[in-house]
C-alpha cells in the first residue's frame, strides 16, 4: 500500500471556481471595504496591529460600529505585504463552505498553496486531513500568510472554531490570523493569553479619544469647541458609528450646533436616534431605496432598481457613496449597507411598510435568478415563501443533483425542508422527490416523481425538468434493481442532453455523473459487466472536482467490485483505495460515502487471510450505513460478511449472511452465484459433500467457480474419477484473475495428487503459487486441505513465494520466519506530516527536538506519534522506524 495519497486521475480542480454548494465564489467577500474619504487613521491602533504580527492570533473585538473593519482594512492596505481577506457570512457555519472560502481567500491573496490540499466537496463538513495538509503547507512558508477574517461573529459554530484553532496551531509560524468580531470567538483564548500568543484590541481601545473625535469631525469639515467634542465623546462613549452619524446629521442640518446640542441633551439610544435623524434628512426616494435594499446582503444599482421599481438607483447610490452615508462600495459596481445601519433600516422598513418584506424577497429572488448566484436566489425565494418559484430556480439551473452531492447538509437544503404543501407544480414535485430519495424514502420519492412526470407530460417543452426527472428515475432504478428502467432513463437523458443549455450542464457536471453511476450500478447488479464498466468508467473520470466527488467515489467503488468479481484482487484493492481517497480528499461526509469500497477491501482481506482487518472494515462499513442498502451494496455486504464467517468456520452464520438484504425487480446472476457458492462451501466444511454436490452440479456449466467447488466436494467424498470428469468440462485456461484461476489450478493439483501423479501436482502447485503471489492470495491454499502441505514444503527453499504465504501462525504451511512475524497490514495511510516526524525519529531525535525542528508543540508531536503507532500497529519508536522501513515509508 502506498503511503502517500496519489493525485486523482481526473485532475480535479483544487482551485475550482465554485464553492461546495456549486455556486461561484463571491469575489466581493475577498475584498476589504474601501476606506471612505472621511476615514481617520489612528496611529496608536495601527501600531497595535503591527505588534499583532508577532503573535499567531490578533483579536479585534468590539461592538457593531466600533470601526473595526475599516481600521484593519486600512492597516492591511498599507502593510506592503499580501493580506488575505475574508468577510464571513452565516453560510460559513457549514464547515465545508467556510474552508472552501478560506482556501480561496488565501489563493486570491497570492498565497501559493499546493494543489494537493484539495477542497471540501460538501458544504456540511471538511476532512481533518485537508486541514492537516493546509497547516503543513502554511507551516512550510518562508513568510507567514496573513489572513483577516472579518465579521467572524457570524460564524459562532464551535466546529469551525476548533478547526481554525487546529490549523493555526499546526501552521506554527506560517500563519498570522486576525479575527475581527463583535463577540469573543470560541477559541481557547485563555490558553493564548497565558502563552502570550494573542494580541487583543478590544472595545475600550477602539473607542475614540476626544482628540481623535476632534480629528474625525475635522475630516467631516466640522470644527467644535473642546468642550463640545468632550460632551459628544461622553454621550457616544467614543463609539465610531455614533460619532460618524453625528457628523452626518449635523452636516445636513441647518443649524449643526443646535442639532448636536439636542442630541447631547437627549437620552435616546445613540444609533437609533442618529440614524433616524440622518435618514429623515434624505430625499423621499433615497429613504425608500435605503429601506428596501436592507433586505439583501449586497446589491448593485440594477437590483436596487428592481426592489424600488424605479430607475434612479445608480445616481442615488453614487451620491450616498460620495457623502459616505450608509453605503460601502465593494467594487465591480456592488455595494453593501454598513451592517449596523442595515439592521436598523430593516426595523424602519417593518414599521413603515409592514408586510412588504415578502414582496421584496420575491423581487430580489427574481432578479438574482438572472444575474446572481443560485444560493442567494434560493435564500430569497424561500424567505418569500414562494416555493414553486424557488423549486423552479433550482431545477432550471439543472442543480437537482446538488441535493445529493452538496446542498443536502447545507443551509439552502434545509430551506426546502420548510416547503409548504400548496406548491404543486412539476418543479416542486421534482424537488420533493429528490429530497425523499436522498433520505432513502423510496416510496414517497417514487410518488412525487410520478406526480412530476404526470405534470410534465402536459407540458412537453421542458427538457431541463425532464432531464432532472431522468436522473431521479435512474436512481429509483438503481434502488429497485431494475435495469430496464435505468436504460430507459439513460436513453431519455441522452436525447435531452442536446436540448438543454450546454453551459448549465457544464456548471452542474454532477448531474450526468450521478446518472451514469446509477446506470452503472444497475447494470452491474443485473450482470451486464461490460456495459456497467463503460458507464462507471465514464462517471469515475468526470471532471468537476468537488462537485462530482460523490459520484466519482461511488463509481470507483463499483469498479473495484467489478474487478473483484473478475478475480483481480490487487486491482480491486487499488480501485477501492482510490475510492476512499477521493472521498477523503474532498471531505465527502459519511452519509454520502459509498460503502462498496470498504466492502471490497474486506473481501480482499478475507482472500488474504487478514481476518481481523476484514472484520474492522466490515464494522466500519456497517457503522457508516445509512438506511436501506441499494442492491449492489447489499450484495457486497453479504459477500464480505459471509466469506469472513466461512473463513472463521462459522458455517451456519455464513449461510445466513450470504443472502443479500435487498429487494430487486430482477435477480442478480453473480449475487445468486456467490450465495450458492458460500452455501455449498459451508456444507462441504461441515462434512456434507453430498449436499454441496446437489447444490452445484445441476447448474455448473459455464460457472468455473461452481465446477471447482463441485470437484472439491467429489474429492472430499473420495470420488477422484468423477472430480476428474467434472474438471474436464472446464477450458484449459479459465478467464479472469488469480482469485478465479488459482482455485482451478489447485483442485487440478489435488486430483493429480490423489491419482498418484506427484510430479504434475507439484508443477500445478508451483504454478498456483506463482499466480497468487502478486496478489498475496492466501485463502485457496488454506482451504485446500492437508494434502498440499508436503507439496509446499517440497518447493525449492529459495522460492520467494513462500514468504508472503507464510505470515500467519495459523497457516498449515511450514513457518519460515523466526520471529512472530505477523504483520498486520497498514489500514490507513501515513500523512505527509507524520512522515516528517518518522524521518526525524529515524535520526534518533527526541520528541522535543522534533517539535523544535518542525515548529510545532511537543504535544502535537506526541499526537503525531500516537497516530503513527496506531497506523503502523506498533508501540515503540524503534518498531515504528523498522516497520516504516519495511513498508518503504522511509
Amino acid at each position: 500500500m502506498s503511503a502517500m495519497a496519489n493525485q486523482p486521475g481526473d485532475g480535479a480542480g483544487a482551485d475550482s471556481r465554485v464553492d461546495p454548494r456549486g455556486d461561484p465564489f463571491l469575489g466581493t467577500r475577498f475584498v476589504a471595504p474601501v476606506r471612505p474619504a472621511t476615514f481617520l487613521r489612528r496611529e496608536r491602533l495601527v501600531e497595535r496591529l503591527d505588534q499583532g504580527l508577532t503573535t499567531p492570533l490578533t483579536l479585534v473585538d468590539g461592538p457593531a460600529g466600533a470601526g473595526k473593519t475599516l481600521l484593519v482594512a486600512d492597516w492591511a492596505e498599507r502593510l506592503g505585504r499580501p493580506v488575505a481577506w475574508l468577510t464571513a457570512e452565516a453560510a460559513d457555519q457549514a464547515p465545508g463552505v467556510f474552508w472552501a472560502y478560506l482556501l480561496q481567500a488565501l489563493r486570491a491573496a497570492g498565497t501559493r498553496l499546493s494543489p494537493g490540499i484539495g477542497s471540501p466537496a460538501h458544504a456540511g463538513s471538511v476532512d481533518q486531513t485537508l486541514l492537516a495538509r493546509l497547516a503543513a503547507d502554511l507551516g512550510d512558508m518562508a513568510a507567514p500568510a496573513i489572513l483577516v477574517l472579518d465579521e467572524f461573529e457570524r460564524v459562532p459554530a464551535l466546529e469551525v472554531a476548533e478547526q481554525l484553532e487546529f490549523v493555526l496551531h499546526h501552521a506554527g509560524r506560517g500563519m498570522r490570523l486576525i479575527l475581527v468580531t463583535r463577540s469573543e470567538p470560541l477559541l481557547p483564548l485563555h490558553r493564548y493569553r497565558a502563552a502570550g500568543t494573542v494580541t487583543e484590541i478590544r472595545g475600550a481601545e477602539l473607542a475614540f479619544t476626544p482628540a481623535e473625535a476632534a480629528g474625525l469631525l475635522d475630516v467631516h469639515g466640522m470644527r467644535l469647541s473642546e468642550d463640545a467634542v468632550s460632551a459628544l465623546v461622553h454621550r457616544t462613549q467614543g463609539w465610531a458609528a455614533g460619532l460618524r452619524l453625528c457628523a452626518l446629521a449635523a452636516q445636513r442640518s441647518a443649524d449643526p450646533e443646535r442639532c448636536l446640542k439636542e442630541f447631547e441633551a437627549g437620552q435616546s439610544t445613540v444609533a437609533d436616534y442618529l440614524l433616524a435623524e440622518v435618514l429623515k434628512r434624505q430625499p423621499a426616494e433615497t429613504q425608500d431605496l435605503l429601506l428596501r435594499v436592507s433586505v439583501v446582503e449586497r446589491f448593485r444599482p440594477a437590483l436596487a432598481d428592481a426592489l424600488t421599481g424605479r430607475t434612479d438607483a445608480e445616481a442615488v447610490l453614487a451620491r450616498l457613496h460620495h457623502e459616505n452615508a450608509f453605503v460601502e462600495p465593494l467594487g465591480h459596481d456592488w455595494y453593501r449597507l454598513h451592517p449596523l445601519f442595515a439592521e436598523i433600516l430593516r426595523a424602519h422598513l417593518r414599521v413603515r411598510h409592514p408586510r412588504s418584506e415578502t414582496e421584496l424577497h420575491r423581487r430580489a429572488a427574481r432578479w438574482l435568478a438572472h444575474g446572481g448566484s443560485l444560493a442567494e436566489t434560493l435564500a430569497h425565494g424561500s424567505a418569500a415563501g414562494d416555493w414553486e418559484f424557488t423549486s423552479r430556480a433550482l431545477v432550471d439551473d439543472l442543480a437537482i443533483g446538488r441535493l445529493f452531492t452538496a446542498l443536502r447538509s447545507d443551509c439552502p437544503a434545509e430551506l426546502f425542508a420548510r416547503m409548504t404543501p400548496e406548491a404543486d407544480g412539476p418543479a416542486a414535485s421534482i424537488v420533493r422527490a429528490a429530497r425523499a430519495l436522498a433520505d432513502d424514502d423510496l416510496e414517497h420519492g417514487i410518488l412525487h416523481l410520478r406526480r412530476a412526470q404526470q405534470l410534465l407530460s402536459e407540458d412537453t417543452a421542458d427538457p431541463v425538468a425532464r432531464l432532472s426527472c431522468a436522473l431521479l428515475e435512474a436512481l429509483v432504478a438503481r434502488r429497485t434493481g431494475s435495469p430496464g428502467r435505468a436504460e430507459w432513463a439513460a436513453s431519455v437523458a441522452r436525447d435531452l442532453q442536446d436540448a438543454v443549455p450546454a453551459e448549465r450542464l457544464d456548471r452542474h457536471p454532477e448531474l450526468l455523473a450521478l446518472l451514469l453511476t446509477h446506470l452503472g450500478s444497475t447494470r452491474l447488479w443485473s450482470g451486464h459487466s461490460d456495459a456497467a464498466r463503460a458507464a462507471l468508467t465514464e462517471a469515475a473520470g468526470s471532471a468537476g472536482g468537488a462537485a462530482t466527488a460523490v459520484p466519482r467515489q461511488d463509481a470507483l467503488g463499483h469498479l473495484a467490485l467489478l474487478d473483484y468479481l473478475d478475480g483481480w484482487i490487487a486491482r480491486a484493492e487499488r480501485r477501492a483505495h482510490a475510492a476512499l481517497r477521493e472521498a477523503e480528499r474532498y471531505g465527502v461526509p459519511a452519509h454520502a460515502r459509498s460503502g462498496i469500497g470498504r466492502l471490497v477491501l474486506a473481501t480482499v482481506a478475507v482472500d488474504r487471510d487478514e481476518l481481523d482487518a476484514a472484520q474492522a472494515l466490515i464494522d466500519e462499513a456497517d457503522a457508516a450505513r445509512k438506511g436501506a442498502d441499494d442492491p449492489v451494496t447489499a450484495a457486497g455486504r453479504a459477500l464480505a460478511a459471509s466469506r469472513l464467517l466461512l473463513a472463521r468456520g462459522s458455517t451456519q452464520a455464513a449461510v445466513a449472511a450470504a443472502e443479500p438484504h435487498a429487494t430487486a425487480v430482477v435477480a442478480s446472476p453473480w449475487a445468486e452465484d456467490r450465495t450458492v457458492l458460500v452455501t455449498a462451501a459451508a456444507r462441504l466444511a461441515e462434512g456434507d459433500a453430498e449436499a454441496a454436490v446437489k447444490l452445484l452440479e445441476p447448474a455448473m456449466d459455464h460457472r468455473p467457480a461452481w465446477t471447482v467447488e463441485a470437484a472439491r466436494a467429489r474429492l472430499a467424498a473420495g470420488d477422484v474419477d468423477e472430480a476428474h470428469n467434472i474438471l474436464d468440462g472446464l477450458p484449459a485456461t479459465v478467464p479472469g484473475g488469480p482469485a478465479l484461476t488459482v482455485p482451478v489450478t489447485l483442485v487440478r493439483a489435488e486430483v493429480a495428487d490423489r491419482a498418484g501423479d506427484p510430479a504434475t501436482a507439484r508443477r500445478l502447485v508451483a504454478r498456483a503459487l506463482a499466480d497468487a503471489r502478486r496478489d498475496r492470495l492466501r485463502r485457496p491454499f488454506l482451504d485446500a486441505g492437508p494434502w498440499i502441505r508436503p507439496l509446499l514444503a517440497a518447493a525449492p527453499a529459495d522460492e520467494p513465494v513462500r514468504d508472503w504465504l507464510d505470515t500467519r501462525p495459523r497457516t498449515p504451511v511450514r513457518r519460515v520466519r523466526e520471529d512472530d512475524g505477523e504483520l498486520p497490514p497498514v489500514v490507513e495511510e501515513v500523512s505527509p506530516r507524520e512522515r516528517d516526524v518518522l524521518r526525524r525519529l529515524a535520526l534518533l531525535m527526541s520528541t522535543e527536538e522534533i517539535a523544535a525542528d518542525l515548529y510545532v508543540s511537543v504535544n502535537t508531536v506526541k499526537t503525531h506519534l500516537k497516530s503513527i503507532y496506531r497506523k503502523l500497529s506498533v508501540n515503540r519508536r524503534g518498531d515504528a522506524v523498522r516497520r516504516a522501513r519495511e513498508l518503504r515509508l522511509l
Binding site: P63, T269, V270, Y273, A276, L340, E343
Partner: protein, 65 residues
C-alpha cells in the same frame, strides 16, 4: 420563563418594533424590554438582536412569572 432586558437610553418606537414579542417601557434614561422568552435559543437570539442594532446592554435577568 420571563426576562427583563435593560438597554441604555430611550429606544425609539421604530426600534422597539424590532422586538415585537416583548413589551417595553422607558424609565429614566433607560429602556426596559420584558416578556416571555421561549427557550435558550430565543434568549441568545434576543442578545444577538440587541448587539446587531448597536444597542448598549446594561442588564439582562430572569424575573419571576
Amino acid at each position: 420563563m420571563r426576562y427583563e432586558i435593560r438597554i441604555d437610553g430611550h429606544l425609539s418606537k421604530t426600534l422597539a418594533e424590532a422586538f415585537p414579542e416583548l413589551d417595553h417601557v422607558v424609565v429614566c434614561d433607560q429602556t426596559l424590554l420584558y416578556g416571555p422568552v421561549v427557550d435558550e435559543a430565543h434568549l441568545y437570539g434576543l442578545l444577538a438582536r440587541v448587539q446587531s442594532l448597536g444597542l448598549r446592554l446594561l442588564e439582562m435577568r430572569r424575573v419571576p412569572e
